[in-house]
């Protein structure tokens, strides 16, 4: 396939991508998925390239997925966590990144608690920056793998109704997914308590619902987000028990969903809080597909950004 018109060095967010760029990443992801599932002979597209995972926040899935993806492309991978870096000695992100660049990194995958941190870094260093989550702003690779998973099951998402349910206010996953889904023609409903899903999200073009039944009943897929325990103390909702009672998706409410509606969750799942165990493990759930699709999607991202489309498959 021709990927020579890919021009981005960095992947900072979905908001800035065009639908054709999104399609380009997902088409390439499909090829990588086939390669992974096929003869398993690893392709050495990024041999000799050094990918640095700079993770300033805890992460299991994303960090490992980027590592596996980079290794699958034969890149050298170095993972740096905040606790093990000089950031604990007071070094700034700017200095850490400049040092990493000076040590010969070919790309930096950044996870950081500050919105805009990846953009900030992209203005300081010359190497490609791949945003692996910046505060509540964006988490593009997650949205792309979610979109991949949905397209895999539904065909196109155009005209489909997708509900994202839970802590939208603090969620980068929700924002990136909103952009990805709406750019590809889906109708997105953001749902949850009014304190976590302000009406102002409507200004982005989303439908906002504070009623679970209303949010679920027409949905072709529902994407749940982890309810973060720490939000209780900041008066966004009274208790996990109350959240579960009003917004938890459980077997008693399963019939509110269409029979073939898909259930997604970026993980980690709080079983019994936002999602019942029975539904987590049900045939409608594509949660583990999301995880495995994440490898192929991240291979595509690393490939495109690191090589900037200079070569083609």
């Amino acid at each position: 396939m021709d990927i020579s018109n890919w021009t981005r060095k960095c992947l900072l967010g979905i908001e800035e991508l065009s639908p054709s760029e999104i399609t380009q990443i997902l088409e390439l992801s499909k090829l990588f998925k086939k390669e992974i599932e096929g003869d398993n002979s690893k392709k050495n597209y990024l041999r000799g390239k050094r990918i640095v995972n700079l993770f300033m926040e805890p992460s299991t899935r994303t960090r490992i997925a980027f590592e596996v993806a980079a290794k699958s492309l034969h890149a050298d991978v170095i993972s740096v966590a905040e606790q093990s870096s000089s950031l604990t000695k007071g070094e700034t992100l700017r200095d850490t990144a400049m040092n990493i660049q000076a040590l010969g990194a070919d790309a930096i995958v950044l996870r950081h608690s500050s919105p805009g941190a990846s953009l900030f870094l992209s203005k300081i260093v010359d190497v490609p920056i791949i945003n692996a989550g910046d505060g509540a702003h964006e988490h593009p690779s997650q949205a792309l793998l979610d979109l991949y998973t949905l397209q895999d099951r539904l065909g196109s998402v155009a005209g489909k109704k997708i509900t994202i349910l839970g802590d939208i206010l603090f969620s980068r996953v929700a924002r990136s997914n909103f952009w990805a889904l709406s750019k590809m023609g889906a109708e997105v409903t953001l749902a949850g308590p009014s304190t976590l899903v302000p009406k102002q999200f409507e200004s982005m073009g989303a439908r906002v619902s504070h009623n679970l039944k209303d949010a679920l009943q027409d949905a072709d897929a529902v994407m749940l987000l982890r309810i973060q325990h720490e939000r209780q103390s900041s008066s966004h909702f009274p208790s996990l028990a109350e959240y579960t009672k009003i917004f938890g998706l459980n077997k008693d409410r399963k019939h509110w969903l269409k029979k073939d509606a898909l259930i997604l969750h970026p993980g980690p799942v709080n079983r019994g809080v936002e999602l019942d165990s029975e539904l987590t493990d049900s045939p409608q759930s594509v949660i583990l597909d999301q995880v495995s699709n994440g490898i192929a999607v991240r291979m595509a991202i690393l490939y495109l950004c690191t090589l900037q489309g200079a070569s083609s498959l």
Partner: protein, 426 residues
């Protein structure tokens, strides 16, 4: 007997109702009438034809991190920047090190000012000890040492009893209380206006109501004690409406807005540039329009700079980790002129009133006019100079300006403080 004459300029002197071409004379440090029967060789004449002449500007919000400067702005560079912006008097906020919450420290600060300042630096003491909002500072003693106003800006006591008693206690000494209205429980560490853009960008929001509740607090307290409170850096349409209604009732409330809030709307933070991060945050276009109208109609009394210098490495970090505050001395007048000049209600008299006469009146100081016998604090503005602001060419040692590379029409070319030249573009 050296006399200076600024000849042929358009003089704007709102206090005396002057807005026409005339000459301004001063001798030593005082404005005088046109001398008669005097040898013209004894008069130094400066040709200011085509220029605008007005009383030196007065700023109500000037921050300086450390009175000795350290590696960032010091008294000299800060006041040089002020003079370059047309300011002859600036009110120093108390969030400096060491804290001006006791007479000894205030004396120390005054000594530094006398040695290094090139404009008049007026002192604002802390309302509460260490600015923490928990225990009143010794306001009477502070006043005796030369403090002319008090505030905990950029914070404010979150304890209503402390704040209200502080205002009441200050009123006994006739001390003006300045307040930056902010309910911290609602604003938290919010780094952007709590609106659709912050929501989209994933930034913590600083909502309008965090300001408006405390604007109402100040209004209620000013009314119940029957004393003056000045609200600084008003940013929301709702605050404007509250202030207008309070003024209509005769409550002694005054307010200022920063030039940044008149010039920009929230879209300025789209690129996560920390040089647009300030407290309160820049809000929506509807707020900006309301603030402009309020200034031109007189609901908002003054424009302040909120000049707040930071070192490059402190400010240029991740947006939400960056401290709030930007520099403003050298751009405030030019940016206000640019913002307002096309507005149908604009006139120079209103602008000079807001930037000189009104702040002087609020502080009860003898500046803000070109009345005979008052200090010769005078600024000269050339409306025809086109210039580009660049931090590296500025007097301020800090670079945290939202106006980097902005083109302006009109610039201060000379500032006199007590009759002495404090800034000369040449």
């Amino acid at each position: 007997m050296s006399i200076t004459c600024l000849k042929g300029g358009r003089v704007i002197d709102p206090v005396n109702g002057v807005n026409n071409i005339q000459d301004v004379y001063f001798q030593k440090e005082t404005i005088i009438t046109k001398p008669r029967n005097i040898d013209t060789e004894l008069i130094t004449t400066i040709d200011v034809r085509g220029k605008i002449i007005f009383p030196g500007l007065v700023d109500l919000r000037f921050h300086l991190k450390n009175i000795t400067g350290g590696q960032t702005e010091n008294i000299l560079s800060g006041t040089q920047a002020a003079a370059a912006g047309g300011y002859s008097s600036v009110l120093l906020m108390p969030d400096i090190s060491p804290k001006p919450d006791n007479p000894g420290t205030i004396q120390f600060i005054q000594d530094r000012i006398i040695k290094h300042a090139c404009v008049k630096v007026l002192l604002c003491g802390n309302l509460t000890k260490d600015g923490k909002g928990e225990q009143l500072a010794p306001l009477g003693s502070l006043q005796e040492t030369g403090v002319i106003a008090i505030t905990d800006c950029p914070k404010t006591s979150q304890n209503n009893q402390i704040f209200s008693k502080g205002v009441e206690y200050a009123s006994m000494f006739g001390l003006l209380v300045l307040d930056l209205p902010r309910d911290m429980s609602l604003s938290g560490n919010g780094s952007a206006h709590d609106g659709p853009l912050a929501l989209k960008m994933g930034l913590g929001g600083y909502p309008r109501i965090a300001e408006e509740l405390y604007v109402q607090r100040a209004i209620s307290i000013a009314q119940s004690i029957d004393t003056k409170i000045h609200l600084t850096s008003i940013s929301s349409k709702g605050s404007v409406e509250l202030i207008k209604s309070a003024k209509d009732k005769g409550i002694k409330i005054s307010a200022d807005v920063t030039a940044n809030h008149l010039y920009f709307n929230e879209n300025c933070i789209t690129g996560f540039n920390p040089n647009f991060k300030m407290s309160p945050p820049i809000r929506e276009e509807i707020d900006r329009v309301s603030l402009i109208n309020a200034l031109l109609e007189g609901t908002i009394d003054c424009v302040s700079t909120a000049h707040n210098p930071f070192q490059e490495h402190e400010k240029n970090v991740e947006y939400d980790l960056s401290p709030a505050g930007v520099v403003g001395f050298e751009t405030t007048l030019s940016s206000c002129y640019q913002t307002l000049k096309e507005h149908k209600k604009f006139c120079w008299t209103k602008l000079i009133k807001a930037m000189s006469s009104n702040p002087s009146k609020i502080l009860e100081i003898d500046t803000g006019s070109l009345s005979i016998g008052t200090p010769a604090d005078v600024a000269v503005f050339d409306p025809n100079i086109e210039w580009e602001y660049e931090a590296r060419n500025s007097f301020s040692q800090a670079t945290n300006s939202p106006f980097e590379k902005h083109l302006f029409q009109g610039k201060i070319i000379q500032t006199f403080v007590n009759g002495k030249i404090a800034f000369d573009l040449k």
